[in-house]
């Protein structure tokens, strides 16, 4: 059994179609994680539109997908009304919240299709869109152990850990790893020691095959964006090193970041990992790329 991870949207905040985003992509958050025939969709940013077309073209066509929404900020839900499978009969889309009584992602996904925002009503969708929830942050879905965990983001946010048969994928975007007073920041020379990161995150990401995580800023960028709910790439590299993650995908690229700037971020993070002697492979999440574990 292998796990497949495909990036359909890697940008943060707002779709950014431009010549200078052509390599890493301009669509907002959407990542497909597949274990055998079980398909998880992490977030419904604008990247979910292309995923929807692809799902309907597959043979055999999937009948059910599991939609895990980290939080309901626009860039994580705006693609849902354009997700072709929602208009397709015989398709079931399970939308997960944290608690049965809260039902937040389902409520907001349907709310954004009120006539004030969108011409097609939620009740007219052809697919069966089913609200579901994790039980105390855990659920077993088709043999996949799904675990959610809280992240540090204004308004609240949850990451997801998906595990089956020894394959572990962690999706943790829109998370601010705050700089501790005793840590070196900004580390413009890339020479500082590993930063302190929350122990709970180290545990959840421990030995993951892949950690997809928010690295919106570099050191200079984060200087003016503290408390905005996103991390700088050195801090997430330090998290991945301490959690002994095998592969790190820098995610939720800043809408102002060019492809070349993202390349530079990857390069400096690789240097940091090498300096700390870490066996960690680092890349930037890129639209249209599929990884296999």
């Amino acid at each position: 059994m292998a796990a497949y991870v495909k990036f359909w949207g890697t940008r943060g905040s707002i779709p950014t179609p431009a010549s200078w985003t052509r390599v890493y992509g301009g669509n907002t958050s959407c990542v497909e994680v597949r274990f055998d025939d079980t398909i998880f969709i992490c977030d419904a940013g604008s990247g979910i539109r292309e995923l929807g077309k692809d799902l309907l073209a597959r043979n055999p066509r999937p009948k059910c997908v599991h939609l895990m929404i980290t939080h309901t900020h626009w860039d994580h839900i705006q693609g849902f009304p354009f997700f072709a499978p929602v208009y397709t009969k015989a398709m079931q889309i399970n939308v997960y919240g944290q608690r049965a009584e809260e039902n937040s992602p389902y409520r907001v996904l349907s709310g954004q299709m009120s006539s004030d925002y969108f011409p097609v009503s939620f009740k007219d969708l052809g697919a069966s869109v089913v609200p579901d929830h994790l039980q105390e942050g855990r659920k077993r879905i088709d043999g996949v152990e799904v675990r959610s965990f809280p992240l540090n983001h204004p308004g609240g946010c949850f990451g997801y850990c998906l595990e089956k048969d020894g394959r572990k994928i962690v999706y943790a975007t829109d998370n601010e790893l705050e700089i501790q007073a005793e840590d070196l920041f900004p580390d413009l020379e890339n020479s500082g020691p590993l930063r302190r990161v929350p122990e709970e995150l180290i545990q959840v990401a421990q030995d993951a095959d892949l950690l997809v995580t928010d690295a919106q800023y570099d050191e200079k960028g984060y200087l003016t964006k503290k408390t905005w709910g996103h991390s700088c790439c050195f801090s997430v590299t330090d998290l991945a090193i301490q959690a002994r993650v095998k592969n790190l995908a820098l995610f939720h690229h800043d809408p102002e970041s060019t492809d070349l700037e993202i390349d530079e971020k990857v390069e400096t993070c690789r240097l940091r990992a090498a300096r700390h002697g870490a066996d960690l492979r680092i890349s930037a999440a890129r639209e249209g790329v599929e990884l296999k574990f």
């Binding site: 492979r281 249209g288 790329v289 990884l291 296999k292």
Partner: protein, 117 residues
């Protein structure tokens, strides 16, 4: 719209049509059998050690049918055919990827640069 503007618009449309579909190619920069430009045509090109491949790799580290290049619309997609030693895109092991101009692809002992015109 006056007649001059209409002519300009028609000319632009004609030029776009004449430009035709994007052309995809590889340039080998490392490995045995260095060649000039390898056109990724027709719709599917197979790379590997096998004698029936369009891009033949003279390396024991290459699988018989190691990877596919498939043109989909205006894009070219690279797929690892579950090869033994994998396919690397810009130093990252991938299962598949939509290629972009300047991408560096490593298969077995050969390294290629992807170009789109």
């Amino acid at each position: 719209m006056n007649e001059a503007n209409a002519t300009i618009t028609a000319n632009v449309r004609m030029l776009r049509r004449e430009r035709g579909p994007r052309r995809h190619s590889l340039e080998q920069i490392e490995g045995a059998g260095l060649s000039a430009k390898i056109a990724l045509e027709p719709e599917e090109v197979v790379m590997g050690r096998g004698s029936d491949t369009q891009i033949r790799l003279a390396s024991k580290r290459a699988s018989r049918h190691h990877a596919f290049f498939r043109v989909r619309g205006t894009d070219c997609v690279l797929l690892d055919n579950d090869s033994h030693n994998g396919v690397y895109l810009n130093e990252v092991k991938i299962h598949s990827a939509v290629l972009r101009d300047g991408d560096v692809i490593q298969v077995a002992d050969s390294v290629f640069v992807y170009h789109e015109d």
